[in-house]
């Protein structure tokens, strides 16, 4: 099967620093794929480069069989590649519902003129937004302003917004940061639901428990380079990952923790 998202030798340079150095990944459709790495490894830079927020200095990104290097962030979202932000970046002047709707709607050339005379036209976007609202369990918060929500709720809204235009692939940038264990586990369960809607997930986090438990395939990034890839079991066992990223004892501890969460789940 052809990979949904591929990068070939993707390199991002800030000044003299290679934030991403020759990164090659392939995300298969219908998978939950993970990217882990310590702080400063270049994870967010990688997401920014794929979604068009940072210009790569070398390499190519292919999405759904087409090269996307020249597309704007909005065009990539239109093509079915959406993302969340670590710092959420919600539309704080809009309600939860409008946050989702604005991502689901795609204007046509005449939309503006129609809006001038007839607002509130029914659109297919509403069903999409409704679905995104439902899958993240946000129905009760529908008409609230995002500024009135708790941090965990805002996090869910940001994920729902990335899902609202029914993307093919959603990139989640540290969705578990700032969540407690229960919330984090709930989120992990949600991720599996996305696959039923043909939404492939690319998860970036340093919460080892979450990544090792839900991801089918995992890449490990350190100092801008991919140092290991494989299934959760392979990554757990990989000595390079344990020494370079986790540190020996911490690695075991995390791995055990991950195993115990899986045991409960």
């Amino acid at each position: 099967m052809a990979a949904l998202l591929e990068t070939h030798g993707l390199t991002v340079t800030y000044g003299g620093l290679n934030a991403n150095d020759d990164v090659n990944i392939a995300v298969q459709p219908g998978n939950v794929c993970g990217l882990i790495g310590p702080n400063g490894a270049g994870k967010t830079t990688f997401i920014d480069a794929i979604t068009g927020f940072t210009a790569p200095s070398g390499g190519r990104a292919m999405f759904d069989g087409k090269e996307i290097n020249a597309l704007s962030p909005a065009q990539r979202a239109d093509a079915g590649l959406t993302r969340t932000f670590q710092s959420l970046e919600l539309f704080d002047d809009l309600t939860v519902w409008d946050n989702l709707l604005v991502a689901a709607e795609r204007p046509l050339w005449w939309s503006f003129f129609a809006d001038l005379v007839k607002p509130n036209r029914r659109s297919a976007a509403e069903a999409e937004a409704e679905w995104a609202l439902g899958i993240m369990g946000l129905q009760d918060l529908r008409d609230r302003l995002t500024t009135d929500l708790s941090h965990g709720q805002r996090k869910l809204v940001s994920v729902a917004r990335a899902l609202a235009n029914r993307p093919k692939l959603v990139l989640l940038d540290e969705p578990a940061a700032g969540l407690d264990t229960a919330e984090s586990q709930l989120l992990g369960n949600h991720l599996r639901d996305f696959l039923e809607r043909d939404i492939t997930v690319f998860l970036i986090d340093h919460d080892m428990g979450l990544v090792l438990n839900v991801c089918d395939y995992i890449y490990v990034l350190d100092f801008g380079r991919i140092i290991a890839e494989g299934t959760a079991a392979e990554i757990r066992a990989n000595p390079a990952v344990i020494s370079a990223y986790l540190g020996e004892s911490a690695g075991e501890l995390q791995a055990q923790e991950g195993a115990s969460i899986r045991g409960h789940g």
Binding site: N39, G40, K43, T44, T51, G52, F53, T54, S72, P73, A74, Q75, A77, D78, T82, R83, F85, Q86, S87, L88, E89, L90, F91, D92, D93, L94, D98, N99, L101, V102, A103, E105, R106, P107, S111, F112, A114, D115, L116, V117, K118, P119, N120, R121, S123, A125, L145, T147, D148, H151, R154, R161, A162, A164, N165, E174, A177, G178
Partner: protein, 781 residues
């Protein structure tokens, strides 16, 4: 070649003045992140102070005696004996005045605004400017003295053998600016204070962690900036001739250009940029534009006026990033934009009210039908509200600050007039203007289309830059439109500074002319025409807010990065907003043309855009109701005309009150006045339509106690100041009551938040909609 060099050198004098102002703008920006539009006004105030100290030994403090008592007065004037004063004491006292201005600007305006949205800071600076102009008018009068140059004057007959005369003081000015620049540079480069200021400008949080108080740094920088303004006014200001209260304000445009050459950070570059701009100014007006190859469609001041624009646009566009990297520092957002409800009902109620005013149907309570004064005030209110709707779209919805909306309105008006012109002479138009001789509907449509094109061009820089920097670009564009189109007879075909004639509109044979039987602006049909147009525009803007386009606009305003990630083409959304706002402004411009029956270039200067923006902000820039209120309180609107009509002698205070009002609104209540009125009117409307009479008294009982102190105060002011009771005084009493209740509530909420310890770094009263962001700071990745 030798000629060119001589002309370049002659420009050093003006260049020195730009350089001095630019240096002050840079210092204020470094210290507080504010682009100080009031810098020229500060220089003006100190220049006046110095002149009156030297000639009359009179010191005027920067405020007025507003207390309505005979027995208790606020000291305004200090007399140091009779006659003239020596240079040194006058200079010292002037510089102390400058220090006082800096301290006041910091504590009363910019410290409270330090976390405000960029627009709030712009409004604060504009308010300061209006305030200083108002105070100068009141305290120094309007007799426009001609101050003597401080430096020795005289002329080098043949300077450096270049064959041209050169004024001596120009050289002294330039040397003075360079010395001041060098002193400042050393000061910022080698003192601990300078280092701390630069550190805080780079990362305020970091400077706090190192134990520096950004407050104290900002205060010191404001004082330095004000003293620089004072030095510029006292020493170099004489190059621009007679002093008057609005002096120096428009020189902020070249000064900003120079400051931007220094990226608002480097003083040597700002000084060099200022000198350079002065030199190129002089060279282009005296040499470049008289060359035979110079295109005739660019006026002789063309290159000079285009220069700041080009410099500003180039510097900003080259510097600007299309999308900011990661989230930016926490800043308060613009107030929420309310979801418009019951637009039709509002149109009928308010439109009907306006039509009643126009036709005088019931007569009696407020007006007696339409005469020239009321007709002008009513139609001006309606047209101003139209133009303010363009600010609701561009600033309220999309968050872009444009100071060229009046210029764009002017483009529509001039183009419409030209399309109507028929090349014949008439009593109104002794010099015939060639044109297409179109009737008004296609001519107006053409005007709107051209306005949209110009508006989108003006908005193009917004794709890369935002906030205050965009405001600066649009000011420069406004200046360019003014001199290169409205005042350029190559394009307007107007001779001898005459005005362009606009033919009266008709509607299926009905005469819709603004001029009725009395020949003044007293035709009720024209007022009805305005009501209909305003209602259509308001409905269109409300529809945009309630639809997908409006959601995308607000998403762009809230967060451009996230908007792009959500699939919104941010540049397209911004340009669409500029196009819509320009069309609305264009309609307003054409209606102004119909109202005045002619188009004059003086209507569209960028200061009128600033005033429009300011009053739109006072009314409430994020809502349609705010635009309507802005139209009522705006220049020439119902409120001002009623005020002047009944309380003559009030006029000198208008700018002053406007300035203070702007500062207070920006600091205390960025939502403007609209929210004060809306609940009451809505409640009243509900009461009328559904009739729960039992609830209305409850509502009154709920709000009235809080309003009483303000109402008593307003009644007392009117009782003392006004000659007699008028019915409309009741409206003012209610308004002041509602405002004071709102302000008191804000302050109490702020005090409560502080007591509960939730305010954190918050300062003073904060509107609830802006404080709700309480998400914990996220760990840096």
């Amino acid at each position: 070649m030798r000629e060119s060099i001589a002309y370049l050198l002659i420009g050093l004098g003006a260049g020195a003045f730009y350089a001095m102002l630019a240096a002050g703008v840079v210092v204020a920006f470094k210290g507080s992140g504010v682009i100080n539009f009031a810098h020229g006004a500060m220089a003006m105030f100190v220049a006046f102070q110095f002149h009156y100290l030297k000639t009359k030994s009179r010191l005027q403090l920067p405020w007025v005696d507003f207390l309505p008592f005979k027995w208790l007065n606020i000291p305004v004037t200090i007399n140091f004996g009779e006659g003239k004063m020596g240079f040194v004491p006058a200079f010292i006292l002037s510089m102390l005045t400058a220090v006082l201005l800096g301290v006041m600007a910091h504590f009363l305006v910019f410290r409270p605004l330090r976390n405000a949205a960029p627009l709030g800071k712009v409004i604060g600076a504009l308010g300061t400017m209006l305030y200083l102009q108002g105070v100068a008018l009141k305290n120094f009068g309007s007799d426009n003295p001609n101050p003597k140059a401080v430096f020795p004057d005289g002329i080098f007959r043949n300077f450096l053998g270049l064959g041209k005369p050169m004024p001596k003081d120009s050289l002294s000015f330039a040397a003075f600016a360079i010395v001041i620049g060098a002193v400042l540079w050393v000061f910022f480069q080698y003192t601990r204070f300078g280092l701390a200021t630069r550190a805080a400008a780079g990362n305020e949080k970091g400077a706090v962690l190192l134990g520096y108080s950004p407050e104290r740094l900002a205060l010191t920088n404001w004082i330095v900036a004000a003293v620089l303004a004072g030095l510029a006014g006292v020493f170099v200001g004489s190059i621009t001739g007679a002093l008057n209260p609005v002096k120096f304000t428009s020189l902020i445009v070249p000064a900003l250009g120079a400051a931007l050459i220094g990226r608002l950070a480097s003083i040597p570059l700002a000084i060099g940029g200022g000198l350079l701009m002065g030199m190129v100014d002089s060279w282009s007006t005296t040499w470049l534009t008289i060359q035979s190859w110079w295109p005739k469609f660019i006026t002789s001041s063309g290159a000079k006026d285009a220069l700041p624009l080009l410099v500003i646009v180039l510097v900003l566009v080259l510097r600007g990033k299309s999308l900011p990297i990661r989230g930016t520092i926490e800043q308060k957002r613009l107030p929420l934009s309310p979801y418009p409800k019951r637009v039709m009902i509002w149109c009928f109620v308010l439109g009907g009210f306006a039509i009643i005013l126009a036709t005088g149907l019931p007569g009696g309570f407020l007006f007696h039908g339409l005469d020239g004064v009321w007709g002008l005030a009513l139609t001006t209110t309606l047209i101003t509200a139209m133009m303010m709707l363009s600010y609701v779209v561009i600033t309220g919805y999309v968050g872009q600050i444009s100071i060229a909306q009046m210029s764009i309105a002017g483009v529509a008006a001039f183009v419409t007039s030209r399309f109507m012109a028929n090349g014949l002479a008439s009593p109104d138009q002794p010099f015939p203007v060639s044109g297409l001789n179109w009737p008004w509907p296609p001519a107006a449509l053409g005007g709107i289309i051209v306005a949209v094109i110009v508006g989108v061009l003006v908005g193009l820089p917004a794709v890369r830059i935002r906030g205050v920097q965009l405001a600066v670009v649009t000011i420069a564009a406004a200046v360019l439109l003014q001199t290169q189109y409205f005042e350029n007879d190559h394009w307007t075909d107007l001779r001898a500074g005459s005005n362009a004639i606009v033919r009266d509109p008709t509607f299926f044979g009905w005469d819709m002319s603004a001029a009725g039987k009395g020949g003044l602006t007293d035709n009720p049909r024209f007022a009805i025409f305005c009501v209909v147009v305003l209602c259509l525009l308001a409905a269109a803007v409300a529809n945009i807010r309630r639809s997908g386009t409006g959601r995308r606009f607000l998403a762009v305003r809230a967060n451009e990065r996230a908007a792009a990630a959500a699939g919104i083409e941010v540049p397209r959304a911004k340009l669409l907003a500029f196009a819509l706002a320009s069309a609305i402004a264009g309609v307003g411009g054409i209606m102004t043309g119909f109202q005045q029956r002619q188009v004059s270039s003086a209507n569209w200067v960028f200061f009128s855009s600033l005033a429009l923006l300011a009053f739109a902000y006072l009314g409430g820039i994020t809502s349609i109701a705010g635009a309507i209120i802005g139209g009522v309180i705006g220049a020439g609107g119902l409120a001002a005309v009623i005020g002047n009509y009944h309380n003559p002698g009030f006029t000198p205070y208008v700018a002053l009150i406007g300035g203070v009002g702007m500062i207070l609104t920006a600091v205390i209540h960025p939502e403007g006045q609209a929210p004060f009125w809306q609940p009451a009117v809505q409640y009243f409307g509900k009461w009328i339509s559904t009739g729960p009479i039992d609830k209305f008294p409850k509502f009154i009982l709920k709000v009235l106690p809080g309003m009483i102190p303000g109402m008593l105060f307003a009644w007392w002011l009117i009782f003392i100041k006004a000659q007699e009771w008028r019915n409309w005084h009741l409206l003012i009493i209610l308004q002041v009551g509602a405002m004071t209740r709102g302000i008191a509530k804000q302050i109490m909420a702020g005090v409560k938040a502080k007591r509960d310890g939730t305010a954190g770094a918050g300062h003073g009263p904060v509107p609830p909609s802006a404080t709700s962001d309480s998400t914990p700071a996220l760990a840096e990745a």
